[in-house]
């Protein structure tokens, strides 16, 4: 007993900061996810010529909390013939994997839970991939055809697209020369150019594959409402369902963060090495001020007093954030925090853009069919990503031979990308030609 307490103390003493961060993640992330959902609904509403949630709180800003309360007090239904243990375990597994993956991420140079992990990005990818068990087991445990089909679709889809995503990651890692997240971003700083620009094909591949991996439209077949009701989530309700939901959105954040880290320069501002462009550093505070001013302008137009107050509060919050963002540039005392604060802003900003792109696609595109999805994955993305890895590798060798650095690397990588694109288009063209004409040789009876 003594030993155990001692070990615990030792552990806490050594790892108190990550522990606190972990607790904060578990506590705060559901709230963040709730607001991501709200933002998604608002964006969806805007794209669809309507208002979205408006009732709970000003402009529906308390909607996530209302939803959470509703979900928590809903009746917890377990189907009669379900496998109780697995049914209980599956959503927890799903959400645990997603939350664990967050630990490996770095939000700016100052905010990282598992600091300097040698295998950084692999950890994130590998652990988040474990969430698939939650889906598969949940679908199986529900003992329903819809759930099972959804689960099988999900696992097949995830396994297929993980290959393409992995290959795309390899491209970025070729440039970085390390798995460590800090080193990856540092490498982009040293090169002065984001890897997404050096390997656009890889970035594109990862973009598509990450949408498929997170089961988002147009690849949301496992939960395709019009076909499978809700796929693997059909039988889940209330709290369990919300766990799945939490996992899905957390995974979105995770893949967006991975893409940001590897392809979009992580917490670096655009053109990180170009000194005459350092006025970009003033963009974050100006953006926040802009939002604050907009809120102020909207304040008198709010019909209810509470809403006016709330708008004022939001404006004040924006100004406060702007102040925090501008402080390291003006006040010498907090100068050391410059990279941490602005880095966090850029990182979150890029992740938001990436997620916004997800949402945009979701409200624009119809859904793929399963065979089309598989064909896209296996016949297009995987060959493309493998070829791209080869070509980028060659480009790297050539670049080293000529001592190319930074932007000049584009000289070798852009031909590689162009060749990869041409091959991709060629694949697509032949694909379309050889697309099997639906031969419905089914028995011709009208009965």
């Amino acid at each position: 007993m003594q030993a155990v307490t001692q070990a615990t103390l030792e552990f806490v003493k050594q790892y108190w900061a990550p522990l606190v961060c972990g607790l904060v993640i578990v506590g705060v992330l559901p709230l963040i996810v709730g607001y991501v959902v709200l933002v998604e609904r608002k964006i969806m509403a805007d794209m669809q010529a309507r208002l979205g949630p408006m009732r709970v709180g000003p402009h529906g800003l308390l909607q996530p909390i209302a939803d959470a309360v509703k979900l928590l007090i809903k009746e917890d239904i377990i189907p009669e013939d379900a496998d109780k243990l697995v049914f209980w375990l599956a959503p927890v597994l799903s959400v645990a994997a997603a939350l664990l993956a967050i630990a490996g991420l770095a939000i700016g140079p100052a905010f990282q839970i598992a600091k300097d992990v040698n295998i950084g990005i692999l950890f994130v990818v590998g652990v988040s991939a474990m969430g698939i068990f939650g889906i598969v087991l949940g679908g199986w445990a529900s003992n329903s055809h819809y759930s099972l089909i959804g689960a099988l679709r999900s696992s097949a889809q995830l396994v297929s697209y993980e290959t393409a995503a992995g290959m795309a990651l390899v491209c970025g890692l070729l440039f970085a020369g390390s798995l460590n997240i800090t080193s990856i971003v540092q490498a982009q700083y040293d090169q002065g150019v984001w890897f997404g620009l050096l390997a656009p094909v890889a970035f594109f591949t990862y973009l598509v594959a990450s949408i498929a991996e997170t089961n988002r439209a147009p690849f949301d077949l496992p939960e395709a409402e019009s076909e499978l009701v809700a796929g693997y989530m059909t039988e889940f309700s209330g709290f369990r369902w919300s766990l799945y939901f939490l996992a899905e959105y957390t995974n979105m954040i995770v893949v967006a963060s991975v893409a940001t880290t590897l392809f979009l320069g992580g917490w670096l501002r655009p053109f990180p090495r170009t000194t005459w462009l350092s006025f970009i550093d003033f963009f974050p505070p100006l953006l926040m001020v802009g939002i604050g001013v907009y809120c102020l302008m909207r304040t008198p137009k709010q019909p209810v007093r509470v809403q006016q107050t709330f708008m004022l509060a939001v404006a004040g919050l924006c100004f406060a954030v702007a102040l925090v963002l501008v402080a390291p540039m003006l006040v010498p005392a907090v100068k050391p925090l410059h990279d941490g604060i602005l880095g966090a802003f850029w990182f979150i900003f890029k992740v938001s853009l990436y997620i916004y792109f997800f949402m945009w696609l979701r409200f624009t595109l119809p859904r793929y069919r399963f065979d089309q999805l598989m064909r896209l994955g296996w016949h297009f993305l995987i060959p493309l990503s493998i070829i791209n890895v080869l070509l980028i590798g060659i480009a790297m060798i050539v670049g080293t031979y000529f001592h190319l650095q930074g932007w000049s690397l584009l000289l070798t990588t852009s031909p590689a990308s162009i060749i990869a694109l041409i091959i991709a288009l060629f694949i697509l063209a032949t694909e379309q030609k050889s697309e099997p004409q639906k031969s419905s040789a089914a028995p011709d009876s009208y009965a």
């Binding site: 030993a3 070990a7 030792e10 040698n118 590998g126 698939i132 068990f133 199986w140 099972l148």
Partner: protein, 172 residues
């Protein structure tokens, strides 16, 4: 001290899950416990500072092979299998054989004094800070010293892939 706690924690999980894996009637439950056992093993790898192997274990074993297992379990009709007799008839014989095996290996361990708690001084491990960066070291070893085995392994995987495809393909 912390090392010990972590080791015993993971070791206990691994052993209990392994036992449950081979004793559960429901194959899906078996698979879940196997996953737990594999994850616990991965934890032990981490405790041994084999980070790269830790993540390979998670990505490949848990994320790849076990997904395949679960997939196949769902494809084959489980309801029939659940109601079947769990163990084959030779279980006593088998038990005997494995016990003999255990005794043999245990005896060997005992005789060389490597059993825990023997009081015999054991070989001290290389200090942690002297270890090279794990993934780099593995990569170097893999692509320099063991390049040929690496290529052979990839051919093996290719053969296995083709074999699996041929095997599982529907004969029309």
């Amino acid at each position: 001290m912390l090392d010990q706690v972590i080791f015993y924690f993971f070791a206990a999980i691994a052993v209990i899950s392994a036992i449950l894996t081979v004793t559960r009637r429901n194959v899906v439950h078996s698979a879940i416990f196997l996953i737990t056992a594999l994850l616990a093993t991965a934890g032990i790898f981490l405790q041994l500072r084999a980070e790269f192997l830790f993540i390979v274990q998670i990505i490949l074993y848990v994320g790849g092979i076990m997904v395949l297992f679960v997939f196949v379990i769902m494809l084959v009709n489980l309801d029939v299998a659940v109601r079947q007799l769990r163990f084959a008839r030779q279980k006593w014989v088998a038990l005997l054989i494995s016990l003999a095996l255990a005794a043999q290996v245990g005896l060997m361990l005992w005789s060389t004094g490597k059993m825990p708690g023997q009081g015999v001084p054991v070989l001290a491990a290389v200090p942690a800070d002297k270890l090279p960066l794990n993934s780099e070291a593995v990569a170097k070893s893999l692509f320099e010293t063991y390049l040929l085995p690496f290529e052979i392994a990839s051919v093996l995987l290719l053969v296995a892939m083709i074999g699996a495809v041929v095997m599982a393909k529907k004969r029309t």
